[in-house]
């Protein structure tokens, strides 16, 4: 590959890692308060649908992104209700939410755009080269010639780090995830904090989904998340419950994704399906390698009720 190809490839890898990064950051907030956000897949697919829907009715991808975020939040609130209020198994309720919204979005797709009709193209985010910075050789076109959502996602990484580690809100989040009883005795509302985290994860996960449909493409397709929500959830563990770690993990997935697309296009000897498998195999390997050496929030997956001991 010559230089132009390398630049294009890395650019694509960053673009493809963005939805996983956004949803992964969303998953980080719920995992920090001790909720397994298994519903990220459903949250993303909802965001992807409403992203296209919002852009379709308004003609503006920004309105689309807003719709996607609200859609994602609605899906996340169901998880919040199931895990915080009803206090049931978070993985199973997450799976229920995923099946529900996978079905609901393709149902709505058929209703809004007619059964069997070709998916309509909607207004999508275009690349915005940043003046001067995009002129830097090599790095410029890779980092500073992307669409607006990529920039937002990149800025969210240090911002989330700041929120979680340097603010009192972040301390509250972490206290609820590590030791909900102690947090409760200090007057922190565990339920409220967990719901706030759920809302944040829905907004970010929804934006990640909308990225797929109105930034990477400009259509919605049935099941277009294709497991990225699960990968995003895995990236939280792989990234060691840290925004920068999640950035690294999502870049890894983005690279594998971009690589398999390249290979499919060029027809190099190795079958492209192997590269499609790669992110999933990598996740398993990394998890087998890191689990036991990293420790997540200790109240993970445990519903909290102030009545019980």
């Amino acid at each position: 590959m010559d230089e132009v190809n390398v630049i294009g490839f890395v650019q694509a890898a960053i673009r493809m890692s963005t939805p996983i990064l956004l949803a992964g950051l969303g998953g980080l907030f719920t995992s920090r308060v001790g909720i397994i956000n298994f519903a990220l897949e459903g949250i993303m697919v909802t965001g992807a649908f409403f992203g296209v829907f919002g852009s379709y009715i308004s003609g503006s991808p920004w309105i689309g992104a807003l719709f996607g975020m609200i859609g994602g939040m609605a899906a996340a609130l169901i998880l919040g209700f199931m895990s915080i209020t009803v206090k049931v198994d978070q993985v199973v309720s997450g799976t229920g939410i995923n099946i529900l919204f996978l079905g609901l979005t393709s149902y709505l797709l058929n209703i809004v755009f007619d059964i069997g009709a070709k998916p309509s193209q909607v207004a999508s985010f275009q690349d915005i080269p940043i003046p001067i910075l995009s002129q830097i050789p090599f790095i410029g076109p890779i980092l500073f010639n992307q669409n607006a959502l990529v920039y937002i996602a990149m800025l969210l990484v240090p911002f989330c780090y700041y929120v979680i580690y340097k603010t009192s809100f972040g301390l509250t989040l972490r206290a609820v995830g590590e030791h909900p009883r102690a947090a409760d005795s200090l007057g922190i509302s565990v339920v409220k904090t967990r719901y706030i985290a759920i809302v944040i994860s829905g907004l970010l996960g929804g934006l990640g989904g909308a990225f797929l449909s109105i930034a990477q493409l400009s259509v919605f397709m049935e099941n277009m998340t294709a497991g990225r929500g699960y990968v995003a959830w895995a990236s939280v563990t792989v990234g060691n419950w840290n925004p920068f770690g999640i950035l690294g993990a999502s870049l890894l997935f983005g690279l594998a994704d971009a690589l398999q697309l390249r290979l499919q296009a060029f027809g190099i000897g190795i079958p492209h399906q192997f590269f499609m498998m790669l992110p999933y195999i990598l996740t398993m390997l990394v998890l087998a390698g890191v689990v036991g050496r990293t420790v997540g929030p200790s109240a993970m997956g445990k519903p909290y009720s102030s009545e019980s001991k």
């Binding site: 049931v88 529900l100 149902y107 959830w233 498998m277 999933y280 689990v291």
Partner: protein, 365 residues
């Protein structure tokens, strides 16, 4: 909460949760009712009469003997995979991996059916079955082993293995296993004597249905009448307690995932040997995910799972009819399934409330 209704009132109040045989049955029924109610609202919002949609669905699934047979045929892989999931869920393992295990089971069954053509049917069919169960079982044992050995969540790994299995089969059908003329991404046909025979002419009611019925009994006896099942359920209730009473927790985790996968693999084998007679892409069409809803709706008990599997089989068959006659997209089935899972989980919450209809004068008296 009180709702006025003429001269009587509907009183909804909190009460201590009750648990009886009856409530085990009524819970899933209420969940089902609520799921269908919400779906009816969704159908109505899209401008179709929900009653018309549901009657066309029932007609499609049970209208005549042929459609009923089709419902049973669709229920068979769901039942087998859900029985497998019953084993892993009872052991406390949340497996999402039935889909990948079905795919690997189907792959192994196909390989056996393609390469052992010289064997007579009564040898080949058991061999193909064994291959399918082995494929699914080994694929299931991987996350079980990783859980037992390294403590890695079986949840993420089973999902990852679903995708790996699907891409692996796509690759095999793309190049090495592609049937000789090579126009379609599908394997060669398996040997004719390995096809599961049709038991009722004019339908697709095949021998695999019998396998599923036997599997119901096998899983029941395995879980509730055998020492292995006792140990697995003990691990499911509390790993610490099981460990202190001398049960090998790790062994049981791997075993439960392996057995769970073997039943899913059998489901894959049945799909290949009775329906497609060859390996095709997405031959499982999401049976593994539906099986989760089936297992949960069936309250993780073989008897409940049978009823739930028939219901979901009927949904699948009926949905096609619904799409044709009422123009309601068949993807509504997933909406119903997702809602069923959520409402079944809410069962415990709903059970805390009692609903009574009280005559006005009684309230005032």
């Amino acid at each position: 909460m009180n709702i006025k209704l003429g001269n009587s009132q509907i009183v909804i109040e909190r009460k201590p949760p009750t648990k009886t045989m009856f409530s085990d049955l009524i819970g899933p029924l209420i969940a089902l009712f609520l799921a269908l109610l919400v779906s009816a609202a969704i159908i109505a919002l899209s401008g179709v009469n929900p009653i018309l949609a549901y009657t066309s669905m029932i007609d499609g699934a049970f209208g005549n003997f042929r459609s009923f047979a089709e419902t049973v045929v669709k229920a068979t892989p769901l039942l087998l995979a859900a029985l497998g999931l019953t084993i892993s869920y009872r052991t406390g393992l949340v497996s999402i991996g039935a889909e990948g295990q079905i795919v690997m089971g189907g792959l192994m069954a196909t390989l056996a059916g393609i390469y052992f053509t010289m064997l007579p049917g009564f040898v080949l069919i058991p061999l193909v079955m064994l291959a399918g169960m082995l494929g699914g079982g080994l694929w299931g044992a991987i996350p079980g082993y990783l859980k037992a050995k390294l403590g890695v969540s079986e949840v993420i790994n089973t999902i990852m293995l679903n995708y790996i299995a699907i891409f692996f089969v796509t690759y095999l059908l793309d190049i090495p296993l592609r049937e000789p003329p090579g126009y379609f991404p599908q394997s060669a046909m398996i040997a004719k004597q390995a096809w599961l025979p049709i038991m009722v002419t004019g339908t697709r009611f095949h021998l695999g249905v019998l396998f599923a019925i036997i599997a119901i009994l096998v899983v029941y006896f395995l879980l509730w009448r055998s020492p292995i099942g006792y140990q697995m359920r003990a691990v499911g209730l509390s790993q610490t307690t099981a460990h202190t009473s001398g049960i090998n927790v790790k062994k049981n985790l791997v075993l439960a995932m392996g057995l769970s996968g073997a039943f899913a693999g059998l489901a894959g084998m049945v799909e290949v040997a009775a329906i497609h007679h060859r390996l095709v892409n997405s031959f499982s069409s999401g049976y593994g995910f539906d099986a989760m809803a089936v297992a949960l709706l069936g309250k993780l008990h073989p008897a409940g799972v049978v009823i739930a599997a028939l219901f979901f089989g009927a949904l699948r068959v009926g949905a096609n009819m619904m799409q044709r006659t009422a123009q309601v997209p068949a993807s509504l089935v997933f909406v119903i399934q997702g809602l069923v899972i959520l409402f079944v989980l809410m069962d415990a919450l709903l059970r805390q409330y009692s609903i009574r209809i009280v005559k006005e004068d009684v309230v005032h008296g």
